[in-house]
Amino acid sequence: MSKNIVIAEPSQIIYEGIINILKIESLNINFYKVDSLTEIQELSLHHSFNIVLINPALINNQIKIYKAINKELSNVQWLGIIYSYFDKEIVSLFDDVITINDSSDIIINKIKKILNSDQNQDKEQFEALTERETEVLKLLVTGKANKEIADTLYISTHTVISHRKNITKKTGIKSVSGLTIYAVVNHIITIDNLKE
C-alpha cells in the first residue's frame, strides 16, 4: 500500500530536496505540497496521510490551530523541518524533527521507522490485552499510582506508562473510571476488589 506524506514547506529548494532524498528508496510514497495549516485541513477532508513534514514558521502564530489539527488527525506523525533557530516550545510540539544537517540516511530511517510502526499499530488495535497489560489494568483500577504499579510488578514507571498507552489504544478508553467498568465487564476484577 502506498503511503502519503504532506510537506508543508514554502521553500521550493527544501521541498524538492526532501522529495529527492526519499525517492532514492523505493518507499512508494505520494507527496503533497502545501503552504499553510488550512491547506493541511482541507487536504485531510479527502486524503488520509501518515506523516506531515512541516516548517515550524507555519505554526508560529497559530499554535492553537496546530494543536486542534494535531488532535483531529491523531494517526499522523508531525515532523518539524528545522533549518533555523526556533523556540524550544514550538519544536516540542512535533513528534520528531529533521534538521538541515541530517544525512540522507538519518532522514530516510526516521521516515521508514514511522511508516513501519504505522502498520504495527493497525494490527495491534484488534488484539486483546496481553497478560502484562491485564496485570497493569488490574492494579490501575484498584487505585494504584504508576509508581506503585511499577514496584509491584518489578518494572519501570516508564514501562507502566507504555502499557497504559497500549491499554487505551486497544480499548479506546482513557479514564481510570472508564477502564474500571471495562475491567468489571471483562471479569478482570470484581466490584468487591474495588471496595478493598
Binding site: A68, S175, S177, I181, V184
Partner: protein, 241 residues
C-alpha cells in the same frame, strides 16, 4: 452525527430555512443565538441584520455545525458580547437539558440492569457531571464576566478591571471533558451487555452524541475565536496603560 461527505459551504445569501432542512442542528445553533423559528423566506443575511448579529461570525459558526473547518478571521472586539451570550446559552442547554437527560437514561438503565458495571457507570457519570458543572460554572462565573469586563473597559464604558485574571490557563479542562464523553460511548457501544427492551441505550447514545457534537463546537469557538480576541484585548489594554 453530521455526515461530512455532504459538507456544503454556507453563504449569507442562502435561505435560513433551506439550511435547516439540510442540517437540523442549525435549530440548536439559532437557539444559542436566541433567534426564534418561523423564519419565513428570509436569508441568513436578512436575519443577521434584523438581529444585529455579525454575519461572518454566524457563518463561521454555521460552517462548524456543518462539519466544516474553522476559518481564521480577525474579528473586531465588537462581537465579544454576542459570542459570550452564545456560549452562555449553550451552557444552559448542557446543564439544564442534555446532562440531566443523560443522567436520567443511565438511571433508567440501572433500574432494569442492577449489575455492578451499570452501578459503576452511574457513579462515573455523576462524577463527570460534577466535573463538567464545575467547569461550566467557572466559565460562567469567572471567565465570561472577566471577558465582558475587559471588553467594557476597552470600549471605554468602564475604566477599571475588577479582576486580575488571564484567560490563557483555563482551557486544559476541555480535553478531559471530551475524553470522558468518548469513554461513555465506547463502553456503551463496545463492552456493556444490557437487558434493554425499551432501547434506552440508543436514546442514551443519541444524547451523548448530540452533547459531544455541540460541546466540540463550543470548545472550538472558545479556543479558536474567543481566546485569541481576548488575548488581543489584553494586549491592547497593556498598550494603553
Amino acid at each position: 452525527m453530521i455526515n461530512h461527505s455532504n459538507y456544503k459551504y454556507i453563504t449569507s445569501d442562502m435561505k435560513m430555512s433551506d439550511v435547516i432542512f439540510d442540517n437540523p442542528y442549525f435549530i440548536l445553533m439559532l437557539e444559542h443565538f436566541e433567534i426564534e423559528l418561523t423564519l419565513q423566506e428570509k436569508t441568513i443575511k436578512q436575519i443577521c441584520n434584523e438581529k444585529k448579529i455579525d454575519i461572518d461570525l454566524l457563518l463561521t459558526f454555521a460552517n462548524l455545525y456543518n462539519g466544516g473547518q474553522f476559518k481564521e478571521i480577525n474579528y473586531s472586539f465588537d462581537i465579544v458580547p454576542t459570542i459570550v451570550n452564545y456560549l452562555q446559552k449553550s451552557h444552559d442547554y448542557y446543564l439544564k437539558e442534555k446532562l440531566p437527560k443523560i443522567q436520567f437514561y443511565i438511571q433508567e438503565l440501572y433500574k432494569i440492569n442492577e449489575k455492578s458495571e451499570i452501578f459503576l457507570l452511574e457513579k462515573f457519570f455523576s462524577e463527570y457531571l460534577n466535573e463538567i458543572t464545575e467547569h461550566l460554572n467557572f466559565e460562567s462565573n469567572v471567565v465570561y464576566p472577566y471577558v465582558i469586563n475587559l471588553f467594557n473597559m476597552i470600549s471605554n464604558k468602564n475604566n477599571s478591571l475588577k479582576e486580575n485574571f488571564s484567560v490563557i490557563n483555563y482551557k486544559e479542562h476541555h480535553n478531559d471533558i471530551e475524553d470522558k464523553l468518548a469513554d461513555f460511548k465506547n463502553l456503551l457501544i463496545k463492552y456493556l451487555s444490557l437487558n434493554d427492551e425499551q432501547n434506552i441505550r440508543r436514546k442514551l447514545l443519541f444524547n451523548l452524541f448530540e452533547l459531544e457534537f455541540d460541546l466540540n463546537i463550543h470548545t472550538m469557538i472558545e479556543d479558536s475565536i474567543l481566546i485569541p480576541i481576548v488575548e488581543r484585548m489584553e494586549q491592547s489594554k497593556e498598550n494603553s496603560l
